[in-house]
Symmetry: D2
Subunit: 344 residues, 4 copies
């Protein structure tokens, strides 16, 4: 059994990891940690876990001593120090934060107003969206786990980008995320009466996931890609829908687009390319590691329209992190991830 | 007092008219009609109206006999016959359906699979979004009241279109509507467990509001404009947010865009151009006749991003219809429409 | 015009007062106050009010100087000091907090862990649920405005209590309130992902509204009444439903119960006794000052079951406060309160 | 592997069975049936199942031929005929409908307006809430699976009833169910704009689950028990909270009540008696087979207050049916039922 530790276990991604790992046949949770709740049982903080996981929250140092792999879900800027300790101790790290996602330190500085403090660690880390980059994993001790929006967008656009039929700067991404995406911290915009029966974009063309999105799309396209990215806060608990608009360089029918996607993802269990005519809905991927993609054409204006849906807390965070752990430890990639999305 | 009748009073736009007209100081509801519930009291169908409006639903013919103006909220294809009777009887008509919105019969045929049966009536009707076209009203007996999505989009884009700084075919409109937009009829996609905690686009690049949107934008721009329009079903009761992306022909700062909008709508009570830095939210216009607009720039990709929010049932239907009635009868345009949106 | 001031204007009851008073024909808002936001415009805090009420938040002392009546919406324990200043300045006060609701200081101490500091003020104040106690208003300078739960419960039970057919201690009250009842302050239980798709009772048999409920019921019954009262947090923004169970001393049919209620409330505009067979729903009173009551009998166990629905922020707070102000100033009781509940 | 068939697979309980059985290690779904969708793939009806279960819906007769056990989720009155065929074929049946729940045909007739057509089948069936009645299962070919409300109520009240401290007719049950409880059929009250931001009781003191509730409570108490039972429709997808009020024959402290429950359920995995001071919330049992119970005392009126929370579709339907299947086939009772409720 792999001994796993979760640092930041009382954050939303952290507690989702605790939940999902309960049913992983090859993993045992060896320790959980939280700065704010150290010494308390996690089931006092999250009563859903009562009598299922009543483990006490410890310090992160204790976890390093007894784990084979650490999942870290921390605010940006805090993972490098933990990573250094993990690498020193020969413990693998899967970082769900932003610190190991960007290749370019310059971009990191621009968006996060902070420099890398341990530059060599970034040589030892790799960013992995399994369906697109699993071959990049070559034993690195650190995996930068993708952000939620970038996962839906990269999976949604990869076949188009790689086939080279999209105009540069012709991409508009209108994403909508459930409120868990904003995390556990109390804030005005997530106070129930403020976000129930409400809807609005936020961080318009200025969200920190933008460089991560452009990094992946540029690699896939083999040239610099710029996008307009606007996230919205959706009054549901879970899920992301990204509606993606791409101007095409040539006339391509919906059937051809669909065939392109079908082929691209033919062997991918967790990406479901929906039959032509169906539309992806976040309802149908909730609580699961699936990414549903539907493909549409607007012949009228020469655009492809791609709809990509994921559960932001599973495929967009904890589920994909486990998928990356499976890659790291040479397990079957879907091991422990066979969650069936409910109908309602 | 103006005697008003409501045909289709048990539809969602109809019952909203019943509600809003209760507090109009110059209007008395002289009759209400419904095919499905004829003979019943409207408060049996809508118990919110109990002891406030217990009027009996009659036939539409009875209404014509006793009204100065008829509001019709009918499925497309049914308004012409009613319009003919109204015009013959000297009764004015405000049609909330689709039959008097499009100038081009060809477009109507293309999208609604039906021809105009009373062509001359269309000479006597005019389509009016008051803030943009009130000067077009010259005593016509019929007003085609705008659709909900087109209202938010036309108001959101008018200053940009008129200033001529938008690239042709550079417009992407990603709209999200509350469930009342789908009307009162039972359907799978509006069954509570199917649309609660769910989110999805529908009628992608094929919604019937597209020609109405393009008609208005083309007139404003003085040339043929094509847009990509994708509506989404939002799990809230009321409200529309349209997030509008427009590629600019020149570099324009957010401040310049904002000044353009501020000036364009300086004298319009019902359009609130939010201060730069704020973002329109459907929460803040609910239950009111306001359209909130926020203006944003994505210098990175040369796009303006406009967010327009309305209550789909008020400014997007019944409220705007009353505003049009006020124009028709020479009243102050905001008469009876001073609804203050609630904070929650 | 009556000059009204609102102290605590950025709380939920306060901002609802700001909204409702916009359309009161006899009132002008002369000033608004807030400790936390002094010096800011209220529309910066509540953007729904932008361009409608952009008044600056002042200190409460400034308000006293220029108002005829102050509405105070403060945490318990803070109203006495304000009341003293108001009385000294000859300004009337309507207190939406808990400080002037209980006759018995002992009960106040028991539930609020605090004594009355200005005992004589309590001689000058009166607690008024208009439909039940308007005759108690005899020119007192202070009105204690009822709590939200107690309003629904007192109106729901008054005809039964007064007719004397209910067994002592035979009353169980299961109430459910929308989240605005918890106010504007951020808290774990009102963080969206914690209360969306969630439901739970709270403060079981220990809510501070209990003595207020028992005070009113006891007066109506003419003897000491004890109730079991359990509130629940309902995932909606607005509204309260109280489902009230009362063991009857004699066999009474549903028809007889209904006739009792119908007669009791025959002249009350804001209490709608629904036709037998209908069930009160908070949907149908939202945004209005109505209290809907439906009456049911469980012959099987000898209980009457009463369902009472109000909008917690209108009839349960700001609307009833205005109704009380109308009484205070000799206006028609429904003046400025003709809000029609929407169908959705 | 046990070969299971699901009759009524496109109803809500049916599709939940399809989902849950995907992860049962001892069961293979051998066939699914639906009258309305025969010949279609279930994933066309429920796209969440796409590429997970694309099985074709067949006739129920085909299922009997190839299954060891049939789960039936049918409207009342339709199960007897199926049961007869199953028994004849030596196939076991777990009936999620109402036809095999009541011992008394008289009660069945009274509430369902129908007689038993195959009286002898009722000798061969047994009603089982596993935690309370597993010993009643003695190899009968038919199990009547409990209703959702009765499950929460029986588990919530069992320790009290058995200890004999509750006054006869002193029980009031105020239950609230998510909208999936109303099933998949379209209806006015489950149309999204009618039940979102709405709340109301229904079938007040007249719900068909009443005789099932009283049957279980009476057996536990050893005497005839009558209850007042009022269900409410809650605007969430899943979950039931029953708030249960019981007048006590003696003074019992909260600590004593809690100890009673703790002991009663000490060995039951799926019943979690929460620590004293905590309150059961449907959020914490969603998507799981747990029943959370919190215990409270109202010394003021001599009542115990019990809060019981389940997921109506799991412990209240499909999950409990699988638990009963496990009993039927001698498997560990929790086999395939280790679903961890999510935090959000």
């Amino acid at each position: 059994m792999i001994k796993a530790g979760i640092v930041g276990a009382t954050g939303y991604a952290g507690v989702e990891l605790v939940r999902l790992l309960q049913s992983h046949p090859q993993v045992e949770i060896a320790g959980i940690s939280s700065v704010s709740y150290e010494g308390k049982s996690i089931s006092e903080v999250y009563p859903n876990l009562y009598e299922i996981c009543d483990d006490t929250l410890e310090s992160e140092d204790k976890l390093i001593d007894k784990c084979d792999v650490i999942f870290a879900s921390l605010p940006h800027g805090l993972s490098e120090k933990l990573a250094k300790k993990c690498v020193a101790a020969g413990v693998k790290l899967i970082d769900l934060g932003a610190d190991f996602r960007l290749d370019s330190e310059e971009e990191y500085q621009k968006w996060y107003k902070k420099s890398y403090e341990e530059k060599d660690l970034h040589e030892k880390s790799v960013y992995v969206i399994p369906e697109l980059m699993r071959a990049q994993y070559k034993g690195q001790p650190i995996i930068g786990n993708p952000g939620c929006y970038p996962t839906s967008i990269a999976l949604g656009l990869a076949p188009l980008m790689q086939s080279g039929v999209v105009k540069d700067e012709g991409i508009v991404i209108d994403s909508k995320s459930g409120v868990t995406g904003a995390g556990r911290g109390l804030a005005d915009n997530t106070h129930y009466p403020n976000c129930n029966e409400a809807f609005s974009p936020y961080k318009i063309a200025s969200h920190r996931h933008t460089p991560e999105i452009e990094q992946t799309l540029s690699k896939l396209a083999g040239k610099q890609i710029r996008v307009t990215f606007v996230p919205h806060l959706l009054p549901v608990n879970r899920g992301i829908i990204s509606t993606i608009y791409a101007s095409l360089t040539a006339e391509i029918s919906a059937e051809e687009l669909h065939a392109l996607y079908d082929k691209f993802y033919a062997r991918e269990k967790f990406v479901r390319v929906l039959p032509l005519g169906k539309v992806a809905n976040l309802r149908d991927v909730k609580m699961s590691n699936y990414c549903d993609i539907s493909v549409h054409a607007d012949g009228h204006t020469g655009r492809a329209i791609i709809v990509a849906a994921i559960d932001n807390m599973v495929k967009g965070a904890a589920g994909q992190a486990i998928q990356n752990m499976n890659i790291m430890f040479g397990l079957k990639e879907d091991c422990g991830l066979d969650f069936v999305p409910p109908a309602f």
